[in-house]
Amino acid sequence: MATLARLQARSASVARQYYYRNSVVDVFRKKENDAAVKIQSWFRGCQVRAYIRYLHRAATIIQKRWRGYLGRQHYQLIVKLAYYTMKMNLYNAMAVRIQRRWRGYKIRKYCFNYYYLKEYLKAVSETNEAIREALEEFADMKEREEKKAALEKEEKKRDYQARKTHYLLSTKQIPGVYNSPFRKDPDPWELRLQKAKPLTHRRPKVTPKHSVSLGNWLECTSARSFPGSAILPPIDRKPCQGPFRNIAEVLEQRYKPLEPTLRGAEPIDGPKEARAEFQRQERTRNIHDDLFLPFSSYHKNKKHIPSMHLSSKYGPDSYGSQHFREKNPKRWICDKDFQTVLPSFDLFSKYGKLYSKAGQIV
């Protein structure tokens, strides 16, 4: 028991001692252990590293080979693709060239031919010029026609005026109004008067029948435009029963003024009267009423009756026809004989020279 008590009293310190002795060794052991571990770990590390290096090398070789293989495959694909692309590019380029040429050709030939357009525009402008000229000509022609018509009208008016005032023409003795002696040339109106024929006396004007133009019929207000009847028909209460005609028509027919034919309107001895009238007019101009007989039969029937001068016993005096001077020489004024050529009268020497030369146009 004592040992037990002693053990128990020493248990704590035994433990402590035990622990303390082990721990000292432990430290040492630990140190050695650590050293051993370190050595071992280093060595193991070397081993593993060598192994890993070996593995790496192997893996690298495998991967290298594998990647080479893959790459070569890939490369083949790339080459194929590049080749294909190159071919396609070439084809495209060629196709573009063909299309370019074709499109140019098509547009130029079928859609838009530039030269054709230029030709067309030139042709259009030429046509325009031609049309413009033609229209100008047409307008000119129309204007000329109008001017001509106006001039002709003017001329007609002037001619009529000249014929009306024909009495203003100048004569050789009296210069007219348009032929003043102070002018060098006569007025043009003078020439017109010379050419114009004088108007005859105004004949009784035949009033033209009042004709209605169609357009103005309804606006015309003259009494003659209304459809008038000269005779008013009598006013009846109611029309007669029966197949009778309209009373206005009947009366119109009954009281229609006589419209004889031309032959009926002439008197029956018309030609005879006309002849008698003509002869009456002729007779006023006759000197005597005897017919003028031709010479061949005249001297057979009639005796020649000499005129009074020839049948009287008193003859003509010889003075004035055979001699012109006084018989009695004592009554002569001078001794010389008369001149046989007489000077002209002053009056008649100025004849035709008193007036301007202007009237004497050839």
Binding site: L117, Y120, L121, V124, S125, T127, N128, E129, A130, I131, R132, L135, F138, A139, K142, S213, L214, G215, W217, L218, E219, T221, A223, F226, P227, G228, S229, L232, P233, P234, I235
Partner: protein, 509 residues
């Protein structure tokens, strides 16, 4: 009292009636009398006289009624309301030619005022009797009937259809062939009024063979007849391509071009209307007109007229140019553009200016060549001023804006564009700057000119939002020039220079 005295009373009465009706008819010719006549109740007095026993009084009463109804539509309505029309129509069939003329005159006078009155005439069955009158021997009766039918058909398509259904068209075509000029005129005018409403009616007129006769009458020297004939042909041609082709097949070109040189203004107007109606349908028809030299003739015609007479010619040029660029080039080489710009500047009316602006826009919108041809004549500033002016109508402003836009988008003629930099509104300025930005990078001479003329300076002064199209254009212009020049011309450069002078430390030795 003796019988004679009794009868004398009646004779006096008849004389009084005749005199009354003749005086009323005469007074009704003067407009100032008609008011007085109306107030005096002349309608109610004339109405029983239409039923008078004496035909003379009937005819004169009808004539007087016609003249009154002709004056204004109240009186015409009074004629309709007074139930006079059935009586007129009934006796139209039976009486002599004076009465027929007078009755047709009344129908014409009533029918001309409004569609309702014309419908009233149709409702009382007047059309059949009028068509019967068209077959009469007397040309005056035919003329009066044709005139009445023309006035009725003028208002709308239903009335025209009624006239056609009554069988008037073949008879009108026969009337055109008659020798009397007045009858030809009226018949042509009636056919024109019938054909103008719809293509079917025009087709009916064509089926009756009217085109050949109308085409022959273009050569007639009478001016009023030519007016009506050309108007009829243009009303036929305007509806569809087939009808226009039929009119062209009647060989009116180049004869119709001589009508463009006529002395009468309305003949010129109707001739250019006809050519316009033909040209507007298809490019082939326009081509035909161009090949026949029609464009030159129309341009000369525009030059010789003023005012509304020019308008169809201007529109014709626009239609021709609108079809294709070759035709627009044909218009340009026929010297159309100077003429149109003259019209644009000197016409006072807005609608004619609008038409000229539209036509110029159609010509210049295709290629730079076309735009240059328009820009060279200095029309763009005129168009701009019309667009900007507050007095122009809305239509004119819209059309000039479109024209400017269309021309500017293709214009590379820089001297014409430069004035626009100075006084154009922003929406147009955008296009102008855009055009500059397209042309300047490629042309060195133009760049030099742009700088020396002060255009670069102006461009720098334009304010634009960054990122907008305008800014991009300005940038591309600025990229054409070295930086110093751009900085030199930028606004406020002199201020920055002075600031630098202020802040400079002089080198003290």
């Amino acid at each position: 009292m003796s019988q004679r005295q009794v009868l004398q009373v009646f004779e006096q009465y008849q004389k009084a009636r005749t005199q009354f009706v003749q005086m009323v008819a005469e007074l009704a010719t003067r407009p100032q009398n008609i008011e007085t006549l109306q107030n005096a109740g002349v309608m109610s007095l004339l109405r029983p006289l239409l039923l008078d026993v004496v035909p003379t009084i009937q005819q004169t009463a009808a004539l007087a009624l016609g003249r009154l109804a002709n004056y204004n539509d109240d009186l015409a309505e009074a004629v309709v309301k007074g139930n006079i029309l059935p009586q007129l129509v009934y006796s139209l069939a039976e009486q002599n030619r004076f009465y027929k003329k007078a009755a047709a005159f009344v129908l014409r006078a009533v029918g001309k005022h409004s569609p309702q009155l014309a419908q009233a005439i149709v409702d009382c069955g007047a059309l059949d009797t009028l068509v019967i009158c068209l077959e009469d021997f007397d040309p005056g009766v035919k003329e009066a009937a044709a005139w009445a039918l023309g006035y009725i058909a003028r208002h709308n398509a239903e009335l025209s259809q009624a006239v056609v259904d009554a069988g008037a068209v073949p008879l009108l075509v026969l009337c055109i062939q008659e020798p009397e000029i007045a009858l030809k005129r009226i018949a042509a005018s009636a056919l024109s009024d019938i054909a103008k409403h719809s293509p079917e009616l025009a087709q009916t007129v064509v089926d009756a063979g009217a085109i050949a006769h109308l085409a022959q009458m273009i050569l007639n020297p009478d001016a009023k007849l030519k007016r009506q004939v050309l108007s009829a042909l243009s009303q036929i041609a305007k509806h569809s391509v087939d009808l226009a082709e039929m009119v062209v097949e009647a060989e009116i070109f180049p004869v119709v071009l001589t009508c463009l040189k006529d002395k009468d203004e309305y003949v010129k107007k109707n001739a250019s209307t006809l050519i316009r109606e033909i040209a507007k349908h298809t490019p082939e028809l326009s081509q035909l007109i161009v090949n026949a030299g029609g464009v030159a003739a129309v341009i000369d015609c525009i030059g010789s007229c003023k005012g509304n007479i020019r308008l169809p010619g201007i529109m014709m040029l626009g239609y021709v140019a609108a079809h294709s660029e070759n035709l627009a080039m044909a218009v340009i080489i026929s010297k159309g553009v100077p003429q149109l710009s003259v019209c644009l500047s000197e016409e006072p009316e807005d609608h004619i200016k609008a038409a000229a602006a539209w036509a110029l826009g159609q010509i210049g919108r295709y290629t730079p060549e076309h735009a240059r041809a328009v820009a060279v004549t200095n029309t763009l500033p005129v168009l701009l001023s019309l667009y900007m002016s507050t007095e122009s109508s809305e239509d004119l402003q819209v059309k000039s804006k479109k024209a400017i836009k269309n021309i500017l988008q293709k214009c590379t003629y820089l001297p014409a564009l430069e004035p626009f930099l100075y006084d154009a509104p922003p929406n147009i300025l955008k296009h102008v700057v855009g055009q500059f930005s397209k042309v300047l990078p490629h042309d060195s001479k133009a760049r030099r000119l742009f700088v020396t003329s002060g255009g670069l300076k102006k461009v720098q002064e334009i304010k634009a939002e960054p990122g907008s199209l305008l800014q991009e254009y300005i940038n591309s212009i600025n990229n054409c020039y070295p930086e110093e020049i751009v900085r030199y011309y930028s606004p406020g450069y002199s201020d920055t220079l002075l600031q630098r002078v202020d802040s400079y430390q002089p080198l003290i030795n």
